[in-house]
């Protein structure tokens, strides 16, 4: 029986007419008629679609057909046809497997997508129901925000994967700091680590290169992904250790990253598939661990795009260790000039974490920068008193990561700033600066150095902190306000003289007024933007400070609402401070005016 006669037999069996077959396969009725009329066989590409319509496999259609098939064509043609059919069969199997993977993916994803979508839909309905209850609506929106964030992550990963697969991913080639990169990674993962009560330790070996060229964002994505997996797959209260090391090889520096946890680990079988897309250690519905199953696949693809390698070691119950090696172009940057400027500065470091103290001590000794390390705020106050009594005061206090028996970093900074405003207070911390900046600067912390601390970031940071604002008088660290104009409103002539004397250190132009009325007239008659700052006494004859500021703020000129006005007063009732704010003042300086507190304020405002 020829293939064509088998086709017609099956058509009859399945009650499919020639016109229907033509319609469903796209093969013209004339061609189909020719097979019957001329006893020829259809070409291989048409057999597949015919099989689909008839509901049989190509092999079934071909089954035992060799003898009857052979006479119609040459042997060579027959071989080619068989080969073509075999290849088509293979593609069909692949397509089926691919379909299956898609179905599995969709099944997984539908749960992961539906879960946050449920929250979004449900919370939206709840918010609408309680539309008048602002707090309840706010709570619902907060939950919607969280769920949306999660959903966005899923979508991003799926899109990322697609971008990588289609070869559309481009790696940036920009200068970046390893210290900043690792600090960012730590601040991103820290909340999850804290939430699960894990202990986290970052160990950095000898770091000869601190600045590289490459794609810092993608590197961050890789490291965050690996650490997040460790966090997710480690039961609460676990241990996560990250080590970062470098090795220079010719013109490249290899960055070795290893993340080790004591989590649930993986089976040998799963380990084989870990880099396959949509694979997760256990279903999220069972483990309650959410994710797309794309993370490790993305990691490997990015690492490979960076010419690096990634390997995983793990066994069930014994934790997991992921190692990544990426070769990067490094940038040589000398620390020496910055370090040289620090040799005559004395630093007091408050750090009770031995590892951190060791790192800081090592770098400072290497560059011969005079320093003392104390473990607590009490010891720091004693050391400062000693130094002042011996007339060899410290120039800066570095508040480290941990302090023994002390208040919060803000309490320490606030006390030091109040008692010794000339001191430059620097914070070395693994916290996210943008989150703590407001409170930290209010407490008097002037500069921030991110953890992990490397040579360049430490020396550069110290140098920037200590040179910032230095103009003539290092003890008061007066900022350079050349070109700025300050209106000093003060009725007491002695106080006015003292303040003028101090302000002159900043090189700003100082103009004075004896009462609020004069200050108001001066401001009114000045061009817009003329004054950069107004320092306003409160209790004055003719017109007091509150009234003067109220009137200034009410003027119809662009800078009336924006010019910073600071009260200088001894009135420290909470109500007075509130009153000065209500009048339109931006802040408050306690009298008797402390030179250094004034400088601190100027530095912050201008």
């Amino acid at each position: 029986m020829t293939i064509s006669s088998r086709i017609f037999s099956l058509m009859q069996e399945k009650n499919i007419s020639q016109s229907e077959l033509s319609k469903r396969t796209g093969i013209s009725t004339r061609t189909i008629s020719d097979w019957k009329r001329k006893q020829t066989n259809p070409s291989a590409d048409k057999i597949l679609s015919i099989c689909e319509v008839l509901g049989v496999s190509p092999m079934h259609l071909l089954g035992g057909e060799e003898t009857s098939y052979a006479p119609t064509d040459s042997a060579q043609e027959s071989d080619l046809l068989r080969e073509e059919i075999r290849s088509l069969n293979l593609r069909l199997e692949e397509a089926k497997a691919s379909n299956m993977a898609k179905e599995t993916f969709l099944s997984n994803m539908s749960h992961d997508i539906r879960t946050p979508m449920n929250a979004i839909v449900g919370m939206t309905a709840l918010a609408k129901k309680h539309i008048d209850e602002k707090a309840r609506v706010a709570d619902a929106l907060e939950k919607i925000e969280t769920a949306s964030g999660h959903l966005l992550n899923l979508i991003n990963e799926v899109l990322d994967m697609s971008r990588i697969d289609s070869g559309r991913m481009q790696l940036a080639d920009e200068r970046f700091s390893l210290s900043d990169l690792l600090h960012d990674v730590m601040t991103i993962v820290q909340p999850q680590i804290d939430q699960k009560g894990h202990s986290f330790h970052l160990e950095t070996g000898e770091i000869p290169c601190e600045y590289f060229r490459g794609d810092a964002l993608r590197l961050r994505q890789i490291y965050v992904n690996i650490i997040n997996n460790a966090v997710k797959y480690t039961p609460d209260g676990g241990r996560i250790e990250v080590s970062v090391q470098e090795e220079k090889k010719e013109d490249l520096c290899h960055l070795f990253f290893r993340c080790t946890d004591n989590g649930i680990g993986m089976s040998e079988e799963f380990l084989q598939r870990i880099f396959e897309p949509f694979e997760r250690a256990g279903s999220s519905t069972v483990t309650k661990i959410e994710g797309t199953g794309l993370g490790m696949s993305i990691v490997r693809k990015i690492v490979e795009a960076m010419n690096g390698t990634v390997s995983v070691k793990s066994s069930p119950g014994a934790g997991t260790s992921v190692s990544i090696n990426i070769p990067l172009h490094f940038m040589e940057e000398s620390v020496q000039p910055a370090a040289a400027a620090l040799k005559d500065k004395r630093l007091l470091i408050i750090e009770s974490d031995e590892d951190m103290a060791h790192v800081l001590d090592g770098y400072l000794k290497e560059f011969q920068i005079p320093h003392t390390i104390v473990p607590s705020a009490s010891a720091a106050v004693s050391a400062l008193t000693d130094a002042e009594f011996r007339q060899t005061p410290y120039h800066a206090v570095v508040i480290g990561r941990k302090q023994e028996n002390s208040g919060s970093i803000y309490d320490i900074a606030a006390y030091l700033n109040k008692s010794r405003p000339q001191l430059c207070i620097i914070l070395v911390s693994d916290q996210n600066w943008s989150e703590i900046q407001y409170q930290a600067t209010r407490a008097g912390i002037r500069y921030f150095i991110p953890v992990p601390v490397f040579r360049k970031s430490l020396i550069g940071g110290l140098n920037a902190a200590l040179s910032e604002g230095e103009s003539g008088s290092s003890s008061f660290a007066a900022p350079d306000l050349t070109g700025k104009r300050i209106l000093l409103v003060e009725d007491n002539l002695i106080n006015q003289e003292i303040a003028k004397e101090i302000l002159s250190l900043t090189k700003a132009e100082i103009q004075t007024a004896e009462n609020g009325q004069i200050a108001l007239s001066m401001f009114e008659s000045s061009p817009e933007g003329y004054y950069s700052l107004i320092l306003m006494d409160v209790q004055m004859p003719v017109m007091n400070g509150y009234e003067a500021v109220r009137r200034i703020r009410a003027l119809s000129r662009a800078d009336a609402g924006t010019v910073p006005v600071y009260a200088m007063t001894a009135n420290t009732f909470a109500e007075d401070i509130a009153k000065s704010r209500e009048a339109g003042m931006n802040g408050h300086l306690a009298k008797p005016v402390d030179i250094n507190a004034l400088m601190q304020m100027l530095r912050q405002v201008l």
Binding site: S382, Y415, N495, A570, T572, P592
Partner: protein, 600 residues
């Protein structure tokens, strides 16, 4: 002292006297309420004058401190000293402001003697200011302790230069500051280390020779006393052998001679017994019987330190022991004794004459509020604290009653229209009968007025608020009254339902402002009542304000500071008028209620 300073002190004393309801015991019942109202009006005027005096004289003086002549500075110092006399402590806040400014000047002038002296004095000022926070265990309090510790630490660190300093008074400040570091930390090891170091220095002949006129023996004795205060920690098991020995040594040094005397004072004998118990020398049972003996032999009209010690602190300690060792409750005699002792304790507190109400008196009241053990067979915490509020709340009590009446009024209006409005509150939801439920709601509403500011009772900051406006650091302390009230109320079953009201009544409805941040409205089943209390408290805050004006201001903050649901009810004309009537009503019945408490 200058005249304005004398006037300020006199005004402050007058306010203290006029605001003490017990002091007007002599008034006839029929004129009592009128007398109280007159006294309140006088207080308002004196307060106004005080604020004006500070604004007109003190702040300008501090303003010009750099150029002030020595006579004026001396007068300022004398004024400050009068405000903090270590007994009545009229105004630690102003004392701190003055010495803070003097320290600032001393630092600029690099006058080491003045820096050390002012550090010590500022430290003492901070210490007395921190008394507002005694017994308030919240993280925010740590910042004040730390600030205090640093000031003393800095003064103490000049010990290295003891030989180089000439002024003997300065040397005395150094030793005292060193010792006082122990007053500023909750860490036992650091307290012990500070006292041990001071004892070492104070007994060292080298230092004694450097300043032969200093009262070294008094320093030693005082420091032993400070060291012995760690006796409570003896049973904690966290002390090193050296620390244990140091504390025991000081306890023997201070208390043993008293124990061996013929008629030892309770104040001295009890710490010795306490030490013996904490060391494990004697059992809890023996300690209980020792307390029973000491309390029984002390008459209820003994209001000196020993009397208050026996009649107030020991019953509190007795309750703590029973709480720590529930097995002791099996002996019904213990509960019977505790009941009697608690009743005697409250009688003593309510009848204490004004001249005995010093800092120590308020210290023991705080101890009662913090450690009262509510157990079956003794008066409930609610019963005890209600009496304390009436007795020591002063004008605040009137405010609480008024607020309660406003809350009742709002609740009644809401319940009428939405009977399930309060069903998140577990004990109300459990009541099926509507009439019973309404009755329970009304009683609860009235008591919410009484307890929302409960934290203020323990802080005793109202006295300062009657005298003048609060300074910024005092205001920061004042804000902790919400946490303080919550923490004490939540601990006892009879008051737990008021805890969230106390915590959340200053937090804004939308969570964007107010305090404390830890109150999360949506997590509290009492949130609706907290919302209502916040509105009622705002309305009743100032009896001099026009309620209509206040309501109109509040409407502008509806949905932000105040609950829009409550504000919607308050926009009802009839309800608003009813509230105005309550707020403007004659307060005589409230005063009469207080009088009955005061007269026992």
């Amino acid at each position: 002292m200058e005249n304005w300073q004398k006037t300020y002190i006199e005004n402050t004393r007058s306010i203290s006297r006029l605001s003490n309801f017990f002091a007007s015991e002599g008034s006839a019942p029929e004129t009592w309420a009128a007398d109280r109202q007159k006294a309140r009006e006088q207080c308002v005027l004196l307060r106004k004058e005080n604020i004006s005096l500070l604004n007109r004289y003190l702040f300008p003086a501090l303003d010009e401190l750099h150029s002030l002549d020595s006579t004026s500075v001396d007068a300022l110092v004398a004024f400050a000293d009068e405000l903090l006399d270590w007994k009545t402590n009229l105004d630690p806040g102003v004392y701190v402001v003055i010495h803070d400014a003097l320290l600032s000047v001393a630092r600029v002038r690099k006058d080491t003697d003045a820096v050390i002296r002012e550090l010590y004095k500022l430290g003492m000022g901070y210490y007395y200011l921190r008394r507002y926070l005694n017994g308030i265990d919240v993280p925010e309090a740590a910042a004040f302790e730390f600030q205090n510790e640093m000031v003393f630490t800095e003064a103490g660190s000049y010990l290295h230069y003891f030989d180089q300093l000439e002024n003997e008074d300065t040397k005395g400040y150094i030793i005292r500051a060193m010792a006082n570091v122990a007053l500023c930390t909750r860490n036992t090891s650091r307290r012990i280390a500070a006292s041990a170091k001071t004892l070492q220095v104070a007994q060292d002949p080298h230092y004694r020779q450097q300043a032969p006129n200093l009262p070294w023996d008094a320093f030693v004795r005082k420091t032993h006393q400070q060291m012995s205060a760690n006796r409570e920690e003896l049973s904690s098991g966290t002390m090193t052998t050296a620390e244990l020995a140091a504390v025991l040594d000081s306890c023997y040094e201070i208390f043993k001679p008293e124990e061996q005397s013929e008629n030892p004072s309770v104040r001295w004998i009890w710490p010795f017994y306490e030490m013996e118990y904490n060391c494990g020398y004697v059992s809890a049972e023996v300690t209980l019987s020792r307390i029973e003996h000491l309390v029984s032999k002390t008459p209820p009209d003994q209001f000196d330190m020993s009397g208050l010690y026996a009649n107030v602190q020991l019953p509190v300690y007795y309750g703590r022991l029973l709480k720590e060792h529930p097995r002791l409750l099996e002996n019904t005699d213990s509960i019977r004794f505790l009941n009697e002792a608690y009743r005697k304790m409250i009688r003593v507190l309510l009848t204490c004459p004004p001249d005995a109400m010093d800092d120590y008196f308020f210290y023991v009241i705080r101890a009662v509020i913090t450690d009262y053990y509510e157990v079956e067979g003794v008066p409930s915490y609610k019963e005890i604290t209600r009496q304390l509020l009436a007795r020591f709340g002063g004008e605040d009590y009137i405010r609480f009653c008024r607020t309660g009446a406003v809350i009742r009024c709002i609740c009644a209006a809401i319940y009428q229209k939405e009977p399930d409005f309060f069903d998140d509150i577990p004990f109300l939801a459990a009541i099926g009968d509507p009439a019973e439920k309404e009755k329970a709601l009304m009683a609860y509403a009235q008591d919410c007025g009484l307890y929302f500011d409960f934290g203020l009772l323990k802080m005793n900051i109202s006295r300062t608020m009657l005298t003048r406006n609060l300074f910024e650091n005092e205001y920061r302390m004042y804000c902790l009254h919400t946490d303080s009230g919550h923490n004490d109320l939540i601990e006892r079953p009879s008051t737990a339902c008021f805890a969230d009201i106390a915590l959340g009544h200053h937090r804004w409805y939308d969570g964007s402002d107010g305090y404390p941040v830890r109150y999360v409205r949506n997590r509290s089943p009492y949130r609706q009542m907290t919302d209502i209390t916040a509105c009622a408290a705002y309305l009743a805050a100032d009896p001099g304000e026009d309620p209509a004006g206040t309501l109109s201001r509040m409407q502008k903050k509806s949905g932000k500071q105040f609950s829009p649901m409550v504000m919607a009810y308050l926009s009802d004309q009839q309800l608003a008028e009813e509230i105005q009537r309550i707020l403007k009503a004659d307060p005589s019945p409230y005063y009469e209620e207080i009088r009955q408490y005061v007269s026992g």
